[in-house]
């Protein structure tokens, strides 16, 4: 049985798709057969981040409407043969999704995959609710600022009340907090919420902290998930998060403001 993991946030632009791509790739790199589904029908992005935009022929909605079968729509990643993408449709909207259709596709995927990553659209409406409905686990992507934290809190409420597990009173969806765009320097200066602040407000276990990094933007533009960039701090932080997702205990990195370099001190730069 595959584990269904939704990557969600409520707020837009916090790094859901970047995270879906990185976590999905990370799981595949560790040998797990993984598929990432783009639920953002109408605003397809995952294919770009994964660098497979030119290979999209059929999409999620085509499969849902039986215009294509799953094998035709799934795109195998060029870097890792255990990694697959199911792209969203760019020409349709969220109303194209139906609960039965989504369930059918998920159960078919569950037969052959170990992990199904659902990349949720922003918001709390139908698209986001579809993405999280069948989830076993949820990665809640949050930026260290108040509006993102509040939206994450809202989506946690929806996970508790509107997921299949909530409706059937099964074991609740396992929640993970992933703090992205974290800048220790700015936290020290009091411009950004700290890890402790966010943990205190959301009260769910921390999966990882991804530092704010130029590598992320570069990776997005090049269509190469940042986790493949082993020299980047963000890539390493995502690897740590994947390890924790698989139950390993790894210490947090990149959460302290860096010491000023010798030259900087010499030049008196503040």
């Amino acid at each position: 049985m595959a584990e269904i993991i939704v990557v969600t946030s409520g707020k837009g632009g916090v790094g859901k798709t970047t995270t879906s791509a990185a976590i999905g790739s990370g799981l595949a790199m560790r040998g797990h057969r993984t598929v990432i589904i783009d639920f953002d029908v109408g605003l397809r992005n995952l294919d770009l981040i994964m660098g497979c935009e030119r290979r999209v022929v059929y999409d999620f909605v085509n499969v849902l409407n039986k215009e294509a079968n799953l094998n035709q729509a799934l795109i195998k990643d060029k870097r890792n043969d255990k990694l697959f993408i199911l792209p969203a449709s760019q020409t349709r909207d969220k109303d194209a999704l139906t609960q039965e259709g989504v369930q059918e596709i998920l159960s078919e995927l569950a037969e052959t995959f170990d992990y199904i990553i659902c990349d949720s659209p922003a918001g709390i409406e139908k698209g986001a609710q579809m993405a999280l409905y069948y989830a076993d686990q949820a990665i809640v992507v949050t930026n260290p600022e108040v509006s993102s934290v509040r939206d994450s809190d809202r989506i946690l409420g929806i996970l508790q009340s509107k997921s299949l597990r909530a409706e059937t009173a099964a074991e609740p969806v396992k929640e993970h907090l992933l703090l992205t765009r974290y800048n220790p320097q700015r936290v020290e200066e009091g411009e950004m919420l700290s890890i402790a602040d966010v943990e205190d407000i959301l009260a769910i276990p921390l999966l990882g902290v991804i530092p704010e990094s130029e590598a992320v933007l570069k990776a997005s533009n090049q269509g190469e998930p940042v986790i493949f960039d082993e020299s980047a701090d963000a890539g390493q932080a995502y690897s740590d998060a994947v390890a924790r997702l698989l139950g390993e205990s790894v210490e947090l990195r990149f959460v302290e403001a860096g010491k000023k370099g010798f030259l900087k001190r010499l030049l008196g730069a503040n």
Binding site: G157, Q160, D200, I201
Partner: protein, 253 residues
């Protein structure tokens, strides 16, 4: 064809009990006046049940009609007398008010237990103490035990939890943007960041307790306070909020 134009429903009404120990016109007038002057608006047009159970006077020497008119003079609304002594009954009839037997509440409890068909009916000593309490207390809460609603997970932004006719107990936090309501008290064994409204049906004795107060709003029986005002009293520590003479009191615990 005819639509239903009335319905008979059971209900519990909150009233004041005016308990009389001894009665003389001047003494009663003075003391009632003093009492009401402490919070004139609070008592205005309040329904009142006058209890004669502890009255030491001889029934035949007590002018109940005068008593009622003094009450009305101070803007109370006497609606019934409660007593055991049968000698009062014709006097009460003269005032036009209702006579309530003392053991009414006990009888109703018994009846409820019987109706529910439950196997073990409460033992008499327990019943006695229940009804005694209900007589002595100021009758704000009903003699039946209040039920509780227990929530063990965080109440998140956008969620609303209501404990109807009950106390609400939350073993976790209440997030900003969440709303918790109860007809009775609210206990939050975590940080209270959202809105908490206790006594929403008007129970002025309801209270809010929390382990850490950072609430957006706290309301008791419609009297509310926003975070700005709360901040000036007790903030980021355990606290209780209750109503005292129509003013919200915030106290650290």
């Amino acid at each position: 064809m005819s639509e239903i134009c009335l319905q008979l429903k059971g209900s519990v009404i909150t009233t004041f009990i005016l308990e009389l120990y001894h009665y003389s016109t001047s003494e009663f007038t003075q003391q009632l006046k003093d009492k009401i002057n402490q919070a004139p608006a609070f008592f205005e047009q309040s329904p009142v049940v006058i209890s004669l159970e502890k009255l030491e006077n001889d029934p035949l020497e007590t002018d109940l009609t005068e008593l009622v008119s003094i009450c009305r003079q101070y803007k109370l609304q006497p609606m019934a007398f409660r007593c055991e002594d049968a000698r009062f009954i014709p006097l009460i009839a003269k005032t036009g008010l209702v006579h309530l037997p003392v053991n009414a509440s006990r009888a109703s409890i018994k009846e409820e237990v019987d109706l529910s068909g439950s196997a073990d009916i409460q033992t008499p000593p327990v019943q006695n103490s229940v009804s005694k309490n209900s007589v002595q207390a100021d009758q704000r809460d009903s003699p039946e035990l209040r039920k509780n609603k227990i929530i063990s997970r965080p109440v998140r932004s956008g969620q609303q939890v209501y404990a109807e006719g009950a106390d609400l107990i939350i073993l976790s936090q209440v997030s900003e943007g969440a709303e918790v309501l109860a007809d009775g008290n609210i206990h939050v064994y975590g940080t209270l960041r959202g809105r908490a409204l206790a006594g929403v049906k008007g129970d002025t004795s309801a209270r809010v307790f929390c382990k850490r107060l950072e609430a957006e709003l706290i309301s008791i029986a419609g009297h509310f306070m926003l975070s700005d005002s709360l901040r000036e009293k007790v903030w980021e520590q355990s606290a209780q909020v209750f109503l005292d003479q129509q003013t919200l009191q915030v106290e650290a615990l």
